[in-house]
């Protein structure tokens, strides 16, 4: 068994340690004797999306957004859409999460179109939502309280019937208004959580892995790991947030 992971835009979407998520996924597979490959797909490069099991898209700086949108328009947006519709697993964080939605409107009213794979939109706010935060995931996403660090000025609003990844326990989440955090659509896991989010949240990490492995081999069971350090770091933050 081997998982083929695609790291989309590692050259521009690489802020806030989010690459640690890939490291976490790979290590948790390797500790269980499962192999994995990571294919980096930077701007200007294309690949056959059907050969990948799992996609990761991180967050980036506004500076590089133009380059990104122009590259997406050259076919990648369509490839991403069909991969999502095919039930491929996606973990997207912050900018990468916003990118799968319909659009982004800056606080002074300029709208740019995003991929539109899922029905949600993001509106820029003047104040950043920033700090440690936590949200409760449903059973299809590991069922645990996830802790992380959010740092975004975009407020994301999910379309009717679109499920969030979790409900906010502390902090802002999607928009600081409706108590939702992230998106959970087919096999897409979208979140504002940096940290990076996976290492400290092993249940969430394993839910993503399990979803991907299940597609390859239905009913695949993950061996348990010694997550003592992981839980220690997780519980420390929960406690600090008063949860």
């Amino acid at each position: 068994m081997e998982l083929n992971i695609c790291h989309l835009y590692p050259d521009v979407l690489n802020l806030y340690g989010d690459n640690g998520n890939l490291l976490c996924l790979q290590q948790r597979l390797s500790w269980r004797g499962i192999g994995s490959t990571v294919t980096r797909l930077p701007i200007g490069e294309t690949a056959d999306f059907t050969k990948f099991d799992l996609f990761f898209i991180g967050g980036g700086q506004d500076f590089e957004q133009e380059v990104l949108l122009s590259d997406l328009s050259k076919g990648k947006a369509e490839s991403i859409k069909s991969a999502i519709a095919d039930g491929k697993v996606f973990l997207t964080v912050c900018g990468g999460y916003q990118m799968l939605g319909r659009s982004y409107t800056t606080w002074d009213g300029v709208t740019c179109d995003f991929i539109g794979a899922i029905d949600y939109e993001t509106k820029g706010a003047k104040d950043r939502m920033i700090g440690n935060f936590a949200f409760q995931c449903g059973p299809e996403s590991g069922g645990s309280a996830v802790v992380g660090f959010e740092n975004h000025s975009g407020k994301t609003y999910l379309g009717p019937g679109v499920q969030p990844l979790g409900t906010v326990l502390s902090g802002s989440g999607n928009n600081g208004e409706d108590g939702t955090e992230g998106v959970r659509y087919l096999n897409v896991f979208g979140t504002y959580s940096h940290g990076p989010v996976l290492p400290k949240n092993p249940d969430f990490a394993d839910a993503i892995l399990k979803t991907a492995l299940d597609r390859k081999s239905p009913g695949f069971a993950l061996d348990p790991l010694d997550d003592a350090l992981e839980h220690q770091a997780h519980d420390y933050m929960l406690k600090r947030l008063g949860l």
């Binding site: 050259d11 690489n14 976490c24 506004d62 920033i130 660090f149 770091a233």
Partner: protein
């Protein structure tokens, strides 16, 4: 001097005195309150002082101290601020401390380290004669925002001081780009070859051209995004240098010996601090001193007599154990420390301290952008972690490949110092800023060593 300035000075001194009586430190409050009484106090007090100002992401404090050493060696009459006092409030306090009650400067020159976000305001106020910009790396995104934002802050600051000579790191594409946007005379410094570096970093802080957004190519790399960058699309390229390190002759755990060239002169320089980033600090400091009027030969020697201190490769001897403290603040700096540790030819005990106070960065995700994998691949022994976010540090090292059973989490600093004081090998303590302040005080107390400089 006007009456408001006089009142401002009085307030500043009174608050400082009160703080001293109450045995409370703090350099910010007095200046902050003084500036409320007299908003242009810093401007008034700095008027007759020749100032060298240092800003940039990494190497501010070390460069400031090397420049100080250069001024000291040349017999100049100067003062300097402490690294903890590098915002407007702290700079104001420092200026008050170094002037008479009537606002007359007590010294001719000053070396002022300035926070890169505060630089925009501080530089135009105090009108430095020389500005050194060391480099720009991603740092505390929660506080500074994106790197281009920091760059723009610095640009605006320099524009407010059109007569200053600006010394720029030619190898940093972000820093060097400032030259095109300002009218100031610029001096560039850099490394003329890779000097042992060369591999592209896992995450580059500036992979795409600042002007046209094409991806840079490199003739050689030194570390991080530094090196001889070339934009294949618009032609933006590392500028030629006025101070150049042309050759690395030797390096060890304590120093590097290099050949440095400036003003048509070439000389051997022993940089009395290890690691490549300190070669940059030495070259940048030399450039700043030259811009200040020192002759090139003398300016290039500024790092020779330099004593490291205050957490920057600072050395302590505790019951026979040699302890070195190396402050880390961001991925680029951290990677350099890992490079340095991996180059050691002896057994050692590493101690990583991670805090998440405002001065450290509340977001600790940067540790995942640093290349601890390289450390884990080269290091076999025990690792001790501590600090407010000790658990996260342990987790980072676990995923980097250090087996969990070799990781010791020791939260208590006194227990930690007990442990490190009974080692038969050198200890390297690698803390973030506030962790450094904390453990350094305890360590200095145990060693009975005086406070050098901050």
């Amino acid at each position: 001097m006007n009456i408001r300035a006089f009142l401002g000075i009085l307030v500043c001194r009174a608050v400082k005195l009160a703080a001293k009586i109450l045995r409370r430190g703090g350099t910010a409050k007095p200046g902050e309150l003084a500036a409320k009484v007299c908003p242009d106090l810093a401007q008034i007090l700095a008027k007759d002082v020749r100032i060298i100002m240092v800003t940039g992401t990494n190497g501010k404090t070390t460069s400031s101290r090397i420049i100080e050493q250069g001024l000291l060696d040349s017999g100049a009459d100067y003062f300097a601020n402490r690294s903890g006092a590098n915002l407007l409030s702290g700079v104001t306090t420092t200026l008050v401390e170094n002037s008479t009650l009537f606002g007359k400067a007590k010294h001719q020159c000053a070396v002022i380290e300035c926070d890169e976000a505060a630089f925009r305001t501080v530089a135009p106020l105090v009108q430095p004669e020389v500005i050194l910009v060391t480099n720009l790396f991603r740092d505390q995104l929660d506080r500074y925002g994106e790197i281009t934002h920091t760059l723009s802050n610095i640009r605006q600051g320099i524009r407010g001081v059109p007569d200053a000579v600006v010394c720029l790191n030619a190898d940093c594409s972000l820093t060097a780009s400032l030259a095109g946007d300002i009218s100031n005379r610029c001096l560039f410094y850099g490394l003329g070859e890779a000097l042992g570096g060369g591999e592209p970093p896992a995450v580059s802080d500036a992979s795409h051209c600042i002007h046209c957004k094409a991806e840079y190519t490199y003739k050689y790399r030194t570390y991080g995004h530094l090196g001889h960058f070339v934009c294949p699309a618009c032609g933006y390229e590392r500028p030629g240098t006025d101070v150049t390190v042309t050759k690395l002759l030797s390096k060890d755990a304590d120093s590097s010996t290099v050949v440095m060239e400036a003003g048509g002169l070439s000389r051997t320089v022993r940089v009395n601090l290890p690691a490549v980033y300190n070669i940059y600090n030495a070259a940048g400091s030399s450039a700043a001193l030259m811009a200040f009027g020192m002759d090139p030969d003398r300016a290039m020697q500024c790092a020779e007599n330099f004593q490291c201190g205050f957490g920057r490769m600072e050395r302590f001897d505790l019951n026979g154990t040699v302890i070195r403290m190396i402050l880390v603040k961001n991925p680029a700096g951290c990677n350099q420390v890992i490079e340095y540790l991996n180059g050691l030819n002896e057994a050692y005990l590493p101690v990583f301290l991670l805090n998440d106070n405002a001065a450290d960065s509340r977001d600790i995700s940067w540790i995942w952008d640093a290349d601890y994998e390289k450390f884990a691949a080269a290091y076999q022994g025990e690792v001790v972690v501590s600090g407010i976010r000790a658990d996260d540090m342990a987790l980072r090292l676990k995923y980097a490949g250090i087996p969990a059973q070799k990781l010791t989490v020791e939260r208590d600093y006194d227990a930690l110092l007990d442990r490190v004081s009974h080692q038969d090998k050198p200890v390297f303590i690698i803390p973030t800023y506030t962790a450094m302040l904390d453990i350094r005080t305890r360590l200095a107390h145990r060693c009975g060593s005086a406070e050098f400089w901050e």
